[in-house]
Amino acid sequence: MSAELLDADAVSRGEALGLLARRIVEGYRVGEHRSPFHGFAIEFAQHREYTTGDDMRHLDWKVLGRSDRYYIKQYEQDTNFVSHLVVDGSSSMNYGSGKITKLHYAKALAACLANLILLQRDAVALALVDTEVKEYLPRTDSLPKIKHIMERLAAFRATGGTRLGTALEQVALQARRRGIVILISDFFDDEEGLNKGLERLTFSGNEVIVFHTLDPYELTFPFKGTWKFKDLEGPTLLKTSPADIRKTYLKNFDEFRARVRKTCEKFRAHYVLADTAKPLADTLSGYLAFRHTLGRK
């Protein structure tokens, strides 16, 4: 399913959003038997001796190499972790050069992830934020409750500015158990907030995944002629000839993306560019495939 085919109306209705997420996730799960999130980033507990039937993937090869003995690695907790889905609801997310906005894309992405996590019987919590946490849906591992998540996601409207640092601090307070925090945002206007938020979240022992959601026009700035740009988060109106400033804009924008990526790397967070021109399934499966490669290491 391509991003163009993402129906904005569908994303605005809970039931339709759930259906959309299920279709994407089921498409991904065909022929896949192992959760990409299972056992990852969970604390190591102890070794035990290998017995027939154990999964060879958990064999400690280093011990085998050193002592010629077969040991299986055991983890303190390898099921039922909590994933916090944090969706940016600032006004800048309302931009879309095509039919769907960045917020539509973010909602669909969150819906897919929620569906995927609940299907593997882990818990998921949802935080919709702008300058603060606007809506918070506490953790749940009940699949039937996904309907509720979808409805909240669908009903959410982006209206405010961005103060991601505050919002993420509030999320961190809610995420008392170590888990995975998935951030979906364009990170405009609050790079410092991202820095603080990531620091706080990773300090609490959470693994963070960042989906940097951007529109293709923001990435390539292909406007021709003279344009008036109206700020989505304020009253500013700017008339300019994009051709004149394209080079500088792209340079600044690439630098911004590099800074976000660097911040993510600093806190060992995974950075994923979610280009709304790309099909959602591609963005999702691309990242999940990456996680699988990490799981095998």
């Binding site: 931009y95 344009w227 008036k228 700020d231 004149d244 400033i245």
Partner: protein, 711 residues
């Protein structure tokens, strides 16, 4: 500053186009909501000034480009008053005459004197102020005008000068000067001069008196001779004549050629070797002239082995010297196998002895019956009525001559057939007789106008009076010159008891071959069309005179035939610039003909067979170079002709310096004109502006590309 095409300045208004496009772009604004405003604001802040300046530069550049293009097309020029000393320096209106006669082929260092003359003419042009005007002509025996009216286009002047060819023609500077004076006469507000670039050959100044008179009669025009080369008389030897000698050039018979070698040097030439080659082969004959005293010409003959029938080229060659053109001389001949002579007799029937052409036929073919087929002439007696049919026959190209012997009345059909035959290059010899009614001949205008003399009714000698005789001496015609030698016998023994009085016609260049002792013409000739007409005053039988019985009859007829043949052959030898004309068959009508010129390996299409009256003619006039020319139709060679250089060109002695000095002494009067001053263009900016426009165009392209300003 003014403009040649000021209307083009309206194009400057197009400057508004980029401004309008610029403004339209500014006013055509689209609106969008935007999230990444921070980056946009930062970019605008960083670029605002730079973009505005770049925009302005591009706008100015585009406006300038259009404005300059419009101005360039309006052709801006600087003008000044013609002849005003303040602006024009020594500006003149000049006619440059370049001597391109054969003598200009003399080597001068790496090139020829003609190359040197061109160099000096260009040098003069380069040194002239822009207001100077120049016309250009090539002068030899004719004047080829390259630039007719004095102008200021130096590019054209240089181009035409560079392409100007030297010819093998003779020289006559006077006619060139005459033409140049006529060219300069209308110009009265500028000093005028005629510059003659020549090698100073004396022959070119033969009409120096006329040139000096022209200079004196036109004091406002200076005549400046410029002698190129080292201004010293060159020693030179050259072949000045080459022609067939003896009788008709016939197949199977040895051929003899007459050559003349001139020594124009200051010292005698000894053991001068001359060779003759046939059809480009090795020398077929050689002769050594023991000595040629300075300033004299020595003649010699070279015999070559019998040639096949058909056209041949012969080239006589002399040892090399500084002037190579006259060391070779070409000749084209047409060797015949057997030619017919038609003898139309008024009395054609009856015993042979009684026929009007009996004696003539024996004089023309003086061989026994068993040798008739091998002899190059065949006499074919017939009645006059048979002539149209015989001459209309396609084989009439083999007919060397037609003899009319006492023909009686000449019908219009016969007259028309003879006219076509002679116009096409045939020879007609008329012996009148008792059957001739002069009044009837006169009534037939076609026939009458062909005659070289008016013919009157015959007069019978008065009883007891001394008969009329041929002249006794002072023979000037080549046919009869033989009898200037008393050892050859005397023509004065030929007596006439009856003859037709002849009166030479005025204005048609008829000549007397032989006169009577009373001074009246006895045999006369004229050219008619491409052929000849010869008229005798009496019969070809002993009826009215004793000529057919006289020993001189046979040599007279043979020499007459040889002379007629040479006249035909002479048409194959032309002077440079003379047009070659040749009648061709009806089958070639309208076809293209090709000519292979001397020194060329290939033929090039050079013209078309044209109709001239009833005849189809080849006419080719581009004969500037000496040598052999081959004419072909449908790849078949139908004629070869030769062009021989004017022998006078071999004489390289220089003109008397007194002549040149006299010319220099004639001072040109100062220009005192009160006419309205004429403005002349002194400087053009068109080319410079176009280059600037191109540079702006490229600059605009580069800047626009770099800034990605597509609008």
């Amino acid at each position: 500053m003014s403009f040649l095409y000021p209307a083009m300045l309206a194009g400057v208004a197009a400057v508004s186009v980029p401004i309008i496009i610029h403004l339209l772009n500014k006013f055509q604004v689209k609106t969008t909501e935007w999230g990444a405003m921070k980056f946009l604001m930062d970019s605008v802040r960083a670029n605002e000034k730079k973009v505005k300046i770049e925009d302005l530069i591009l706008l100015i550049l585009r406006c300038l480009l259009i404005a300059l293009a419009a101005i360039a097309f309006a052709r801006p020029v600087l003008k000044a008053l013609a002849g005003s000393s303040a602006s024009s320096g020594n500006a003149v209106a000049a006619v440059l005459l370049l001597d391109n006669s054969a003598s200009m082929n003399q080597s001068a260092g790496a090139g020829t004197l003609f190359d040197e003359a061109k160099k000096q003419a260009i040098q003069w042009s380069d040194e002239q102020p822009p207001q100077s005007l120049a016309a250009l002509s090539l002068v030899s025996t004719q004047t080829d005008v390259l630039i007719a009216k004095p102008g200021s286009d130096r590019g054209l002047f240089r181009k035409l000068l560079a392409e100007a060819p030297v010819s093998d023609r003779g020289s006559d500077l006077a006619q060139g000067v005459r033409l140049a004076i006529e060219t300069l006469k209308p110009i009265e507000d500028q000093p005028r001069e005629i510059r003659i670039y020549t090698d100073g050959q004396a022959k070119a100044w033969l009409k120096s008196e006329e040139i000096i008179k022209l200079a004196s009669d036109n004091p406002g025009i200076r005549i400046i001779p410029i002698i190129v080369g080292d201004k010293k008389s060159q020693d030179n030897a050259g072949i000045v004549a080459l022609r067939t000698d003896g009788g008709i050039a016939a197949a199977g018979q040895p051929l003899r050629f007459h050559l003349e070698v001139a020594n124009y040097g200051a010292s005698p030439l000894k053991n001068v070797s001359v060779s003759l080659s046939v059809d480009g082969g090795p020398p077929a004959g050689k002769q050594t002239i023991a000595q040629i005293p300075p300033g004299t010409t020595q003649a010699t003959s070279i015999s070559v082995a019998p040639l096949d029938a058909g056209p041949h080229t012969l080239v006589a060659t002399l040892g090399p010297d500084a002037f190579s053109v006259d060391n070779k001389r070409s000749l084209a001949i047409n060797v015949i196998r057997q030619m017919n002579v038609l003898i139309a007799e008024g009395n054609h029937d009856g015993p042979a002895m009684d026929r009007d052409g009996f004696f003539l036929a024996n004089a023309l073919v003086p061989v026994s019956a068993d040798q008739l087929s091998r002899y190059y002439l065949a006499a074919l007696p017939l009645s006059p009525a048979e002539l149209p049919g015989e001459l209309g026959n396609k084989n009439n190209s083999l007919t060397q001559a037609v003899f009319l012997c006492n023909p009686g009345p000449v019908s219009p059909a016969i007259a028309q057939a003879l006219k076509s035959y002679v116009e096409g290059g045939g020879n007609l010899v008329i012996f009148p007789g008792p059957l001739v009614d002069v009044a009837e001949w006169k009534a037939n205008t076609t026939f009458w106008e062909m005659l070289p003399a008016d013919i009157w009714s015959p007069l019978e000698d008065a009883a007891g009076a001394a008969p009329l005789k041929f002249q006794a001496g002072n023979f000037t015609h080549p046919v009869t010159a033989l009898w200037n030698d008393p050892a050859q016998g005397s023509l004065a023994a030929v007596e006439f008891n009856r003859s037709f009085p002849l009166t030479l016609r005025q204005g048609i260049a008829s000549r007397t071959i032989l006169s009577l002792d009373n001074g009246e013409p006895a045999i006369v000739e004229r050219n008619y069309g491409e052929g000849h007409v010869v008229l005798f005053n009496s019969t070809a039988t002993p009826e009215w005179n004793n000529l057919p019985l006289h020993p001189s009859f046979l040599p007279l007829i043979q020499r007459l035939m040889g002379n007629l043949n040479r006249s035909n052959e002479a048409r194959l030898t032309l002077a440079p610039g003379e047009a070659f004309r040749m009648p061709v068959d009806e089958t070639h009508k309208g076809k293209d003909f090709a000519v292979q010129r001397p020194g060329s390996d290939a033929s090039r299409t050079s013209g078309q067979v044209v109709q001239d009256g009833t005849r189809n003619l080849i006419r080719y006039a581009a004969t500037d170079l000496a040598g052999t020319y081959k004419v072909s139709i449908d790849s078949e060679v139908i004629a070869i002709f030769g062009v021989q250089m004017d022998p006078a060109e071999s004489d390289l002695r220089l003109v008397d310096s007194a002549v040149l000095a006299e010319l220099q002494d004639i001072k040109a009067t100062e220009v005192t004109s009160n006419q309205t001053p004429r403005m002349v263009v002194t400087k053009e900016f068109w080319t410079t502006l176009i280059w600037i426009v191109l540079a702006f165009f490229l600059l605009e392209g580069v800047i626009a590309h770099r800034l990605s300003h597509a609008r």
